[in-house]
Amino acid sequence: MSAFIQYTLQGLATGGFYALAALGLAVIFGVMGVVNFSHGAMYMLGAVGSAVLLDVADIPFWGALVIVPILLFLFGVLVERLLVRWLLKLDPLYNFLLTFGLTLLIVDLVKRKYGVSGLPYELPAGLEGRVTVGGLSLSSYQLFAAFFSVALCVAVWLLLTKTRIGMIVRASTEDAERTRALGINVGRWVTPVFGFGIALAGVAGVLAAPFRAITADMGSNFIIILFAVVVIGGLGSILGAVIAGFLVGLVEAYGQAYAPSYAQVLIFVLMAAVVLVRPAGLFGREEAS
């Protein structure tokens, strides 16, 4: 039983990365209709960025958790302004292909600069130990990662549902044309939303840095699982992305515990089952055909 709780915690921590990154993917998709293939690369940049900050400027985890997302926000703004913007009026496949090319570029640039072996990183100060709760010994960092990502997802949820900014973003997601007719400059919101989505992938990367291997390739499997997450949750749905993120994290953790060789395959079996039963995803709306 205690092992089961251990796996659940691990699943929630991993699921937290998926949920945060999938949330970013869903927000970008909702407002811009763009499926950002480079999301895995941005997650990798988040982790590599933390390691580089520690190495070059001696900035620890807690500093990276603030600085890296800001840097990635700016990078996202740049990518949107220089590249993605020009293809927004065309078929969404073009931006999918553009961000795919960008992924190849970013990953190989990082590989050239930092090599293929993992960069060193340690557990943040104050979270190295383990916590004992009722006879259970849990890694305090995993506990923190799980709680932090849940809290951040809730915060973004509140931002989207309770504030004026959130209302504008949601309205643009629902019906950009009508939102424009109500006097909102939808175009002005596109750039910050893209940057915000990228920043969320960056946060997931920073959180992953202390207990995953930091390599240029760490995003390449991540992005595929992220796609499985949004297919399961329904790409249009922000709530679906978060719930499916945690669900996939749990499936992966239990899979690794009880059927280690097929842990990764299980995620895609889950996705196939969802596509078979509910093609639009668990929380997505049926598409007209």
Binding site: V35, L83, G101, L105, K111, S220, V231, Y262, S289
Partner: protein, 345 residues
Amino acid sequence: MSAQLTETTRVETAASAAPDRKLNPFVRAGALVIALLAVLALPWLIYPPVAMDIMAWGLFAISIDLLLGFTGLLSFGHAMFWGTSAYVTGIIATRSGLPFHVAILGGAVVAMLLAVPTGYLAVRRTGIYFAMVTLAFAQMIFFIANQARDLTGGENGLQGIPKSFFGVELIENEPFYFYYAALPLILLGAFIAWRTVSSPFGRVLLAIRDNPARARALGYDVERYKIMVFVISAGIAGLAGGVFSVSHGFASLQELIWQTSGKVVLITVLGGIGTLWGGPLGAAVVVLLEDYLASSGFNGIGIITGTIFVLIVLLFRKGIWGTVADLVARIRGRAATAAQGKRDA
């Protein structure tokens, strides 16, 4: 915004993807002869194994274009068919000692069998979702191949796939002669693609690409047609993957990884979507470029291919074949107008 995603994709295709283009039969026969001569001359001009790579990747790109250019479906998981066939071909060739043609055909058949369930599930979604679902299934096959070490050799891959051909040593040992022995399989794949596109079946595919709702209203079972063309395309990708693995003498996980699916889409877009024959042109550019970069010791090929991809998508969406076809059409149009002007004067 999401309305555009509920329909089959609309990508810029070249003129040749339009059904009503008629070519002078002499021009057509001439073009066919020139193309065949170019294909036959290729191993004289460049290193024969590289020539074989160009043909294999070119056929692979044709299988993508059949879906993307002529049915409006972007498969981002075609490495699963290329790679599955590479492994199955390798297993048949190594264990049975049958001529490599039989092994490759066996690989292509298994790729088609794999395409039935994956296609059935994938066609339930359209547009960008189709790309994501195919990508995820390909990753699943990747993990399964990685686990099934007894069959695939896991991380090491399958080594020493023989080029068995009735004991004819020239073909079995010399890449130059192997090229000509394997070429019929490439041409078979290209012929199947061409027949598919120019048949009544192909016209239904175009109708689905341009307006799925209308095709459905006309009584066509859209999903069935999509699954059928998906299976045909998988078979062509399987032929290409089998030729590739026999030519190199090994099959590895590299053949199943998603970057391979991405590379073939890059080749297709570079050649020109909806042109069918743009694929081999794009393959020639990409394979020669990679060969050059690898031999000059540059590490980080993705920096170059990624940049090319970004530039094509931003500035050059019709690809090589599409751009040339447009230019030819424009010059012809101008000549026709000029002739008209002279007559009027």
